[in-house]
């Protein structure tokens, strides 16, 4: 790779001054930063709601909140974390890194990029405002099953629907932008099969988004029509069917799960080779495995519905298809492990998060495999076992993936090295807190504790207390991350263009911090 370092800091199009720089910016780096800050703010907000949940569950009995408010907390926690924290964080990473990785000067559609970001504060302002409305915020779970969310929903449901529409439009525009950028703006010589894994997994994720976000928009539109225009898509009284809601929702919902994990797969597939100083073992099979996971994700949605009473043949089909997903996922895990094998490993913060990602995500994958076995799922479904499962794939999966990426690219973003000691502290506190919080949930789930309950029998008390302590620890630790990032922005050891000796890719050929405009002349890729 030729060292194409273009200095454009004195370019006429430097950043504007003041607030309007951020409001009107079309620069992928500015927008990327805004996405990342927004998502971190939502992460803290969603985390705060989780702290309320864990505080109420610290002991049996009702101590702090009314059960209805508890339901609002679980609902808003889920919605904010999924749509406000994880998804925008990945879009932010894509904005920052995809153009740098593929040697493009910016995203393909910079103005749309600005708009798709600014829809998000509007969407989540609206969603969070429901907490202060009469009748309270949505209280029907992030899966908002009808008829609890339609006939029996609070007044604020309409605002919730509108917020989902806005967030959905934002995601769709973000996805279109990423596809257009990746397909049309690659530097000469950067063929698809030479693309970094993060660009690959994001390309596939973007197609998933385009395929399923409109379906989510459709399902909330149907809800809106049921609530306000007298249709009965989901109301049995008018010839509709509440189970239809679940089918349509999970047709969106299962690919959505992969939307939240595939970009993390990509980032980890770059970080592990960098700190193992050894190429990714099977680049090609990683690409195919990602494609296979995405493809299969459309054929497994009813495994979320094993207890609704679908016919035996349907049940068997969805059970087999779900088990099949373990195969490409296994390929990815085996590839990561083999990449590390006989490498020359060092454990800076990005690597620590990436290794924890592989191990803990795999544990989440195993519980996922257990959940795929339909007869066993009768025992697991809607218990804390499921809560443990999806927090294992989302917290050390998506969130650790984001942390790993953040530490990996922070030197590139800020021009400074982060404080390694603090970052390692952040890792170990998060790692211990997260395992303390979520591992015991497997136990209470298997012992019979249903999810989404504010109170429980004493037989679940010990592990719930452990969970709460772990959750408080994990939550508090994230303030340390905020401190580390601010500290890195404000100063620290200057970062070289390529701070990681094992790292590969075009992003390391530009100086740190990355200039406001990069690759105005496309680099040459051999």
């Amino acid at each position: 790779m030729s060292a194409v370092i273009d200095h454009h800091t004195d370019h006429a199009h430097g950043p504007a001054k003041g607030l309007m720089r951020w409001v009107l910016t079309t620069n992928h780096k500015d927008i990327g930063s805004m996405y990342l800050w927004f998502s971190f703010a939502m992460f803290l907000l969603g985390g705060t709601l989780a702290m309320v949940i864990r505080a109420e569950l610290f002991q049996p009995g009702l101590q702090l909140v009314d059960p209805n408010f508890f339901n609002q907390m679980t609902t808003m926690h889920g919605l904010i974390m999924v749509f406000g924290a994880v998804m925008p964080a990945f879009v932010g990473l894509a904005n920052w890194m995809v153009p740098l990785m593929i040697g493009a000067p910016d995203m393909a559609l910079p103005r749309m990029n600005n708009f798709s970001f600014w829809l998000l504060p509007a969407a989540f302002g609206l969603l969070v405002s429901t907490l202060f409305m009469e009748g309270g915020a949505p209280n029907f779970g992030w899966t908002f099953y009808a008829p609890l969310s339609t006939t029996y929903g609070p007044q604020s449901t309409t605002f919730f629907i509108f917020a989902i529409h806005l967030a959905g439009i934002s995601s769709i525009m973000g996805a279109i932008n990423i596809i257009a950028t990746i397909l049309n703006m690659r530097a000469p010589g950067m063929t698809l099969m030479k693309m970094p894994m993060f660009a690959w997994t994001w390309l596939i994720t973007a197609f998933l988004l385009i395929a399923v976000m409109p379906v989510l928009a459709g399902v909330v539109t149907m809800m809106l029509m049921d609530i306000h225009f007298g249709t009965s898509f989901f109301s049995a009284a008018g010839g509709g069917d509440p189970v239809l809601f679940q089918h349509v929702f999970w047709f969106f919902g299962h690919p959505e799960v992969y939307i939240m994990i595939l970009p993390a797969f990509g980032a980890v597939s770059m970080i592990i080779p960098a700190f193992s100083r050894k190429p990714l073992f099977g680049y090609t099979s990683m690409v195919y495995a990602t494609g296979a996971i995405a493809f299969l994700s459309f054929a497994v949605w009813a495994h979320h519905m094993f207890t609704v009473g679908i016919p035996l043949t349907g049940q068997l089909f969805f059970m087999y298809a779900t088990m099949l997903i373990a195969v490409p996922t296994g390929v990815k895990v085996f590839n990561w492990a083999t990449t590390m094998f006989r490498g020359s490993l060092s454990f800076e913060a990005p690597m620590l998060f990436a290794v924890a990602f592989v191990i803990l995500f795999t544990i989440g994958g195993f519980s996922g495999l257990m959940l795929a076995i339909a007869p066993a799922d009768y025992q697991y479904h809607d218990t804390y076992f499921v809560v443990a499962h999806f927090h294992y794939v989302l917290v050390p999966g998506a969130i650790f993936g984001i942390f790993a990426s953040a530490y990996y690219w922070l030197p590139k973003w800020t021009g400074h090295m982060y404080d390694e000691v603090l970052a390692k502290t952040h890792f170990w506190m998060s790692f211990i807190g997260m395992n303390l919080a979520f591992f015991p949930m497997h136990f209470v789930g298997l012992a019979g504790m249903p999810r989404r309950i504010p109170d429980y029998n004493m037989m679940f008390a010990n592990f719930n207390m452990v969970s709460s302590i772990g959750a408080f620890m994990f939550g508090a630790t994230q303030l340390l991350f905020l401190y580390i990032v601010i500290k890195t922005i404000r100063g620290g050891k200057p970062a070289p263009a390529k701070p990681w000796d094992g790292a590969e890719g075009l992003e390391w050929t530009v100086p740190s911090p990355a200039p406001y405009h990069t690759f105005s002349t496309p680099p040459e890729v051999k």
Binding site: A108, L109, I172, A175, I176, I179, A180, L183, N184, M185, R186, I210, A211, V212, M213, P214, V215, L216, A217, G218, V219, T221, M222, G230, F233, A236, A237, G238, G239, D241, V243, L244, H247, V248, F251, G309, I310, P311, L312, T313, G314, P522
Partner: protein, 189 residues
């Protein structure tokens, strides 16, 4: 830049088309689901209109137990139940049973009965040629009515199904139907 593929404008147009298509597909899932339900009896759903099939030969060798169930949805105050709790019949045979409904309130009410068959895989073999669930029922205050269901169990019913349950849930749709039935004068409660 690559010139091998589509221009960005064309690409975005195609992607937007895909978005619109998927939004439409979300709605298309509704009729697709209905067709799937009727074909495979998902959810124990039965047809919403009279069965148009031809008369079938009665399988005298085989007997099927058919149970009848009635329940009220939330807010429904009618008394509602089957005349017979269960009957024995041959597949292919046409039978009629009655459900009784009584409106004990002091207002005109409209009800919609929703049928569901268990086991669900038998739903596709349960043919109703006449059913009160095809239309809504309007009852005056204190009025009672006897409502018929005429049905045939298809002789092709899987051999291992020896018992069928036909369950009706009665929903109060007075408010929804009031305008179209000219019942606006009544006091809604």
């Amino acid at each position: 830049m690559h010139d091998e593929g589509l221009s960005t404008g064309k690409l975005v147009k195609r992607l937007l088309l895909l978005v619109v298509g998927m939004f439409a597909f979300g709605f298309l899932l509704v009729p697709i689901y209905d067709v799937m339900c009727q074909a495979f009896g998902i959810n124990g759903k039965t047809a919403g209109s009279a069965w148009q099939g031809s008369a079938q030969s009665v399988d005298l060798q085989r007997e099927v137990r058919v149970q009848f169930l009635a329940s009220n949805a939330e807010g429904m105050r009618w008394r509602f139940g089957p005349q017979d709790e269960e009957i024995l019949m041959h597949p292919g045979e046409t039978r009629t049973v009655h459900f009784l409904a009584h409106n004990p309130t002091d207002r005109v009410m409209v009800a919609q009965a929703i049928p569901s068959v268990a086991p669900s895989r038998a739903a596709a073999y349960f043919h109703k040629t006449e059913c009160f669930c095809f239309t809504q029922q309007v009852l005056q205050p204190g009025e009672s009515v006897e409502m018929p269901v005429r049905f045939i169990v298809d002789p092709a019913l899987p051999k291992d199904v020896r018992r069928l349950t036909l369950a009706y849930t009665l929903f109060d749709v007075t408010e929804r139907m009031a305008p179209s039935l000219g019942l606006t004068a009544m006091h809604s409660n």
